[in-house]
């Protein structure tokens, strides 16, 4: 349905490079990444508000790269919705049909159909300024859906509404997706869209880091951003690898930093490309003194911070790099953990997953 081929766009202080992406008809595709990653820029490229320096955009087998925005027929729900403040709800929704000079009674019928679909028919005659955030969102969706373009791009649709409304919007998006509309949903928080997504693409620093199904993307995290959403806090980049007898060691650093590397022993495996490691925080033992045990990794550090999460505790230990340890409430109380205390962490080589 929509294909991005080697898109490149350079700005003064940002570059979108080598973006290639295939989105099939009827797919719910979530573009996820931290703020400033270039996600919205991708939508603007598809919509035609920004021209790529190179690369092509193909929609339904035709090249739309050089088409004007009004000729692309790609529906775009802007983050701030961009409802026209001088027009009523009905006039907003009817806008695209009136532009096409559609007959008056046909326009009314279509407007009614889509306002009903998004559950806001009763607001037909309201002025935009009299709508709540959730109502605005539904009116904007109706205005987009009425174009029947078959493709809907959403820029952070959950950002402007409160938690209660999120669920009902989610249901509505699911309904739209079930009707076969191809959806490209941009968000910095994948949790809100993961239940809807057929496919996920992770964008960071203007590049596609990973793309595929939820399982494909999140079971093997390629960076801290993805690891964070998979619930992994101890994600480290491998700087160097070396063997000593039967043991395999890595020097690791936290992502985007080169100082403070720490050496870990990891499971001995045949030579492969080692890019990053994850240590499950529940497999790390925290103790007052160095343990004599089978754990191959023992490090002394300082308690940096403590967070209570439900009935457990996340303790951040600084051993040169920050390592998170998950503790039960009783262990936490028994150890008398407090900020600044010197303690030891230990974990087996097998607690380390390598990628």
């Amino acid at each position: 349905m929509i294909e991005l081929k080697n898109i490149r766009r350079k700005f003064k202080d940002f570059e979108l490079s080598d973006i290639s992406l295939n989105i099939s008809k009827g797919e719910y595709h979530v573009l996820v990444g931290p703020s400033g990653a270039g996600k919205t820029l991708l939508l603007n490229l598809i919509a035609g508000f920004v021209k790529p320096d190179s690369g092509r955009i193909i929609l339904n087998n035709s090249d739309i790269t050089d088409l004007l925005p009004q000729n692309r027929n790609v529906s775009y729900l802007f983050q701030d919705l961009a409802l026209f403040p001088h027009l009523s709800v009905e006039e907003n929704v009817a806008f695209s049909l009136k532009i096409k000079k559609m007959k008056k009674q046909d326009v009314s019928a279509q407007v009614k159909k889509y306002l009903e679909f998004t559950d806001v028919l009763h607001l037909k005659d309201r002025s935009i300024s009299k709508l709540s955030g959730g109502e605005k969102q539904r009116v904007a969706l109706a205005r987009n859906l009425i174009t029947e373009s078959g493709i809907l791009m959403l820029d952070e649709p959950f950002s402007a509404i409160d938690t209660q409304l999120k669920l009902s919007l989610k249901k509505l998006l699911k309904k739209i997706s079930d009707y076969g509309v191809t959806i490209i949903h941009v968000t910095h928080n994948p949790e809100e869209a993961i239940s809807l997504a057929h496919k996920i693409t992770v964008v960071e620093n203007g590049k596609i880091i990973s793309s595929g199904t939820y399982k494909e993307v999140f079971s093997k995290p390629l960076n801290m951003f993805i690891a964070g959403f998979s619930g992994y806090k101890n994600f480290f980049k491998v700087n160097s690898v070396f063997r000593e007898g039967d043991s395999l060691f890595v020097d690791v650093v936290i992502e985007n930093s080169t100082d403070n590397s720490v050496r870990f022993e990891i499971p001995n495996k045949p030579d492969t490309d080692l890019n990053s490691i994850i240590i499950d925080s529940s497999n790390i033992v925290l103790s007052d003194n160095k343990l004599i045990s089978s754990a191959r990794n023992s490090y002394e550090g300082i308690v940096e911070s403590v967070f209570r999460i439900d009935s457990a505790y996340d303790v951040e230990m600084n051993i040169g790099i920050p390592v998170w340890v998950k503790l039960t409430e009783s262990s936490f109380n028994e150890l008398g953990i407090e900020k600044g205390k010197r303690m030891w962490i230990s974990f087996k080589a097998s607690a380390v997953s390598v990628f």
């Binding site: 925005p69 009004q70 961009a82």
Partner: protein
């Protein structure tokens, strides 16, 4: 507003500024001889002059709007080199003396210039004609319209224009259905400002057309020929008309804002 003693000097200065504006006008009203006032109001020369002033300024404003509004849109929406310089150029008629502005326009449209000759060949003249009056009025008052419209268009979010295009609107449709309706308040204020500035113009118009006589020139003419007593009633009538027009437009704009 609560009166606060510590602001007494502030209020005093503010009151002085206000009095400076209001007192001469009120004094002019009270100093006018009623008999001469009514006599002047019936004077056909005065009536003709007021009518001429109003319609020429209105025509100049409407004609100029056709060019000024698109120019304001381009300046507000596009970024290009020398934009600041262009804004400075637009302000030239405001910052130069109006008689000098009149001389400048005259140099361009007098009968022996290319434009003057071209106009002459189709039976038009800029000198001593409503056309010349309109050109002089427009030259000095156009910046008010352009600047007000630029401010209006700048405040229309680009997102709304993008949304319109995304919904299939061409650039023209976007301009007429989104940008212009959203900026109409400022454009309308600009039109009122230009019109008001046009009807009060003296310096530039007198260089191009002493006749037919617009009211500001008629007031001057009555003053130099017959003195203050006979000039004042014309001034009072004209001020009343200006204030009525201004009040009418002001209420109209505010009604639009409330709607």
């Amino acid at each position: 507003m609560k009166f606060e003693a510590k602001y007494i000097f502030l209020y005093l200065f503010a009151a002085l500024a206000l009095l400076f504006i209001v007192v001469p006008v009120i004094n002019m009203f009270f100093a006018t001889d009623l008999d001469i006032f009514f006599q002047t109001a019936r004077d056909s020369e005065v009536k003709k002059s007021i009518f001429l002033t109003l319609w020429v300024s209105l025509a100049a404003t409407i004609l100029c709007a056709a060019f000024a509004v698109p120019l304001a849109y381009v300046i507000a929406k596009k970024s290009f080199r020398f934009k600041t310089l262009l804004l400075g150029i637009i302000n030239i008629p405001i910052v130069i003396p109006h008689s000098a502005a009149g001389i400048a326009v005259l140099g361009l449209v007098s009968r022996d210039t290319v434009i003057g000759k071209m106009a002459g060949s189709v039976g038009l003249s800029f000198i001593d004609s409503p056309l010349g009056i309109g050109v002089a009025m427009a030259y000095v008052s156009l910046p008010f319209l352009i600047i007000s419209a630029i401010n209006g268009f700048s405040e229309v979010p680009e997102k709304l224009e993008n949304a319109a295009q995304n919904l299939g609107a061409s650039r023209w449709q976007t301009f007429f259905k989104i940008s212009l309706p959203l900026a109409k308040q400022s454009v309308f204020s600009g039109l009122i400002l230009m019109f008001s500035r046009g009807i009060s113009e003296f310096g530039a118009v007198i260089m191009l057309a002493y006749f037919p006589t617009i009211t500001p020139i008629l007031i001057y003419d009555r003053f130099t020929s017959f003195g203050l007593t006979y000039a004042r009633p014309v001034a009072v009538i004209f001020v009343l008309i200006c204030l009525t027009v201004f009040l009418f437009f002001y209420l109209l704009t505010n009604k639009k804002r409330r709607d």
